[in-house]
Amino acid sequence: MPSALRRPDRTQRPSRCARPRLLRSALAARLAAPVALGVLVACAVLVPVASARALLPQPGASPNQSHTDSLYTVALIMGFVVFLAVEIGLIVALARFRARKDQVAAQIRGNTRLETAWTAGAVVLVTVLTVLVFIQLSVIKNPARSGPAGLALAGDAEFAALNQPAPPGGNALRIHVNGQQFVWRYDYPNGASSFETMYVPVNTTVLLDLEASDVAHQWWIPKLGGAIDAIPGYTNHTWFKISKPGVYYGQCALLCGQGHANMVAHVCAVPVDQYQTWVDTQKAAITQANKDVSDERALQTRQGGSAAAPPTAHELQLQLAEPVGPSYIPPGCNVTTAP
């Protein structure tokens, strides 16, 4: 081929099909490495993807999680398009413009129009994502209305939180969550409490007030919405509403010390009447335990001890519910194994 034809100007290059076989095998050789890489990456992607939901968060069992899930999915799809564009652009550039005999690099220093175009493109992409977040924000952040079949606790909740408006209708169950090394403690409106497993009624909006009494912890039940920190000295808020009875697993997600990996949390959603039975029985058991403690204290005072003395080991044990509770475990809430 006359070398005069091979100009840096690519528009004048003879078309690819004009050059037979030889070129095709050269092309194949040239593409071998990128293609091999592509196959490898595809395998690395596809193997986990094939096992369901590998690139999606846990399916939502609460509306806030479902909405977050859809937000995530949109971002994932847009991200995937960008990913493909960049990788294909890169691989094609490398394969097509690989140095060959007589290949001359075009001496281009930029192109303001093109550069403006892709800057604008990037701005549009992130603007779309930002707008989507704002559209979805209220349904994720603000508690939903309790279902008609939910626990009726009208007017129970006070709303001091700036961050969290009252759910419409005002019906909600408010549970106080306390993170401590290395267990979660839950306090229910009637004075009952439990550790590790939280019992909630279905179809009821559950509001959580999170605090911590030692170091920072993070409340996270993947199927029930986003994670949120429990920080000593602050009260943080989140919510969920479960429609399907069952046990939802999670664990503390913020490093809190050597027992961090074992600081698990379960939420057991049960029908409203079972919840009511549980919370009443639990309350009674705790009242009984407290009574035992004060009886013991009275006994000791009578035997000459001081009423202001620090609690004895036995009293502490009585107080620290787990040995006491839960006196009644609703069916389906028997959490003996992790997920």
């Binding site: 960049v86 413009f97 001359v104 961050n163 919405g225």
Partner: protein, 572 residues
């Protein structure tokens, strides 16, 4: 404009050819007392690579522990210590200072200076780094820190971390911080004042831009971390309550754990850019040289560096999306974080445009630079997803985040480090690294890296939090974890190949000569390794690619004079 440089040279072109590497053995006294920027650069590189290996071994131990459910290879305490040391080492003792090492060596050469502005301060920076590292690792003899690389209260307060590990961390980071602030000031002074005649701002090599902007970030942001750690130290030992929350029952509302987070991330988010901008700078140097084509959009790339740094100062809040802060603040930090994607995207696309229509030579340096583009983009995309704060609520502090960090810091920074290593090694040592071993290393690293970290996205999505030393078999995370552990060994093998390559080539590598790549920038104007004074005559700079101008001038001269062109003819 006519192309000047082809891969196939049509006419023999005169150039200085080296047949051997001048070797001057330095005694250890000379190493310790030296202030030559090149020697200090080498010291930095040796030290930081040693820490890279140590941090890598720690990572492997972590991965072994996680390779099987309910594993008892490490105790929870050991596990916490190891990831704390791994994160701290990789960030403060490897990635941040390794770029100081490269920059020390090449920035004065690139800008046509004979040394850094403050050579003794430069030596001081290096030794502070070494002492910082020794303090951190000295804690191995009592109790290493175990409150993660954030070392955050209340966990790191004396009540919950009584061992001295937390104090070792604080003192070590003070020393390292001092080192990098002094280094930053030095780079700023050098780049502002010591550029070759004619090297205006629009002719500063892009690595120079990256280091200049990075240095400003270091100088502005690091004091926040130092202050936070000093406050933590006085909280721990001298009765202050900056971060200790109210003592229950005492009625006194005291410090705030959230305050520490603000101060810490005010440094540590910009730190991500301190870790990645220099790597971007290296890519911007390497691509045009091996594509034989000028960088596409020099101004846009330089400007995007500045924009990333500026925005980078305004996004620290995206690390606090789960903390008790009002939604409007989150909205601000989401928007600022999203905006960073724009200048970052500009860089990526401009790099690809640089390759487009080039004559790309597949040297290892170029492969690592392209590897950066291809892997960093995944970290960038997951970063945008994490910036959407409701999405962050379900992903933060999970393995999705661990994957994100590593796609940014390994896929971005470390690939850049390797590109820089393969690119500048001939300049520093006078010898070439083996291309074959280098290519094997590249492919092993690329594959190993993706096998290790890609599946971690799925791990996080299926609910595995970060920093857990064990998980039950019933959690369903076993498969992903096993894949990740296997990948980490492939990855280590790849890194090992490069280390072997370096050790071998230092002795047996082919002699490189002054300009093995036909580079664009002035470091290639000197012999390899350059003499103590760098340049006998400093050339006048007329474009971003002064070496191309020089080569063209030599060629013109040789055509005129007839072959025997001397270098002196071009030094004006």
């Amino acid at each position: 404009m006519a192309a000047t440089d082809t891969t196939v040279v049509l006419k023999p072109r005169p150039q200085v050819v080296a047949h051997s590497v001048p070797r001057k053995r330095l005694s250890w006294i000379e190493w310790v007392t030296g202030t030559d920027h090149k020697r200090i650069g080498i010291l930095y590189l040796y030290l930081t690579f040693a820490f890279f290996v140590i941090g890598g071994v720690e990572a492997l131990l972590l991965r072994v522990q996680l390779g099987a459910p309910d594993n008892t290879f490490l105790t929870p305490q050991r596990y916490n210590e190891l990831f704390t040391l791994h994160g701290t080492t990789m960030i403060f003792l490897f990635i941040i200072p390794v770029f100081a090492g490269f920059a020390n060596y090449v920035i004065p050469l690139m800008i046509g200076a004979r040394d850094m502005a403050f050579p003794r301060v430069n030596a001081w920076s290096f030794w502070m780094l070494l002492f910082g590292g020794l303090v951190l690792y000295g804690s191995l003899f009592f109790n290493p820190p175990e409150a993660s690389w954030w070392n955050f209260p209340p966990l790191s307060s004396v009540q919950y971390s009584h061992s001295g590990g937390s104090d070792a961390f604080i003192v070590a980071i003070h020393l390292i911080g001092l080192s990098s602030i002094l280094g930053g000031i030095n780079f700023i002074a050098t780049i502002h004042n010591m550029r070759a005649p004619g090297m205006g701002w629009s002719r500063l090599p892009l690595f120079g831009w990256a280091m200049l902007v990075t240095s400003y970030l270091v100088v502005v942001a690091s004091p926040a971390l130092t202050a936070a750690l000093l406050m933590l130290l006085t909280d721990r030992h001298y009765g202050t309550h900056f971060f200790i929350p109210s003592v229950p029952g005492s009625g006194i509302r005291e410090g705030s754990a959230l305050l520490y987070q603000h101060l810490f991330w005010f440094y540590s988010h910009p730190a991500v850019y301190i870790m990645v901008l220099p790597a971007f700078g290296i890519v911007s140097e390497v691509l045009p040289v091996f594509a034989r084509k000028p960088i596409f959009g020099y101004k846009a790339i330089a400007a995007s560096t500045v924009a990333i740094a500026f925005l980078g100062m305004l996004v620290w809040g995206h690390h606090l999306f789960t903390w008790p802060i009002s939604t409007i603040v989150f909205a601000f930090f989401m928007i600022s974080s999203m905006l960073i994607a724009v200048p970052t995207g500009i860089k990526l696309i401009n790099w690809i445009a640089t390759l487009w229509q080039g004559a790309v030579e597949f040297r290892v340096a170029l492969m690592f630079a392209c590897g950066l583009i291809g892997t960093f983009v995944i970290g960038g995309i997951s970063g945008v997803m994490l910036a959407m704060f409701p999405v962050d609520w379900v992903l933060n502090d999970t393995y999705f985040l661990v994957a994100h960090i590593h796609y940014v810091l390994f896929g971005g920074s470390v690939f850049g480090v390797f590109a820089g290593l393969y690119y500048w090694f001939p300049k520093m040592s006078g010898r070439m690294l083996s291309e074959r071993l280098g290519k094997a290393s590249f492919w092993t690293i690329l594959i190993g890296f993706n096998v290790t970290f890609l599946v971690q996205h799925s791990l996080g999505l299926s609910g595995m939090p970060r920093r857990v030393y064990e998980y039950p078999a019933s959690a369903g995370w076993t498969g992903y974890n096993l894949v990740s552990t296997i990948g980490s060994f492939i990855l280590s093998a790849g890194i090992g190949l490069t280390l072997i390559n370096v050790v071998r080539s230092l002795r047996h590598g082919r002699v490189a000569g002054p300009d093995p790549w036909k580079g664009n920038t002035l470091e290639w104007f000197t012999p390899s390794p350059p003499p103590a004074n760098n340049f006998d005559a400093i050339p006048r700079v007329r474009s971003v690619e002064p070496m191309q101008d020089l080569r063209r001038a030599i060629q013109r001269d040789s055509e005129r004079v007839g072959g025997e062109a001397a270098r002196e003819t071009v030094s004006a």
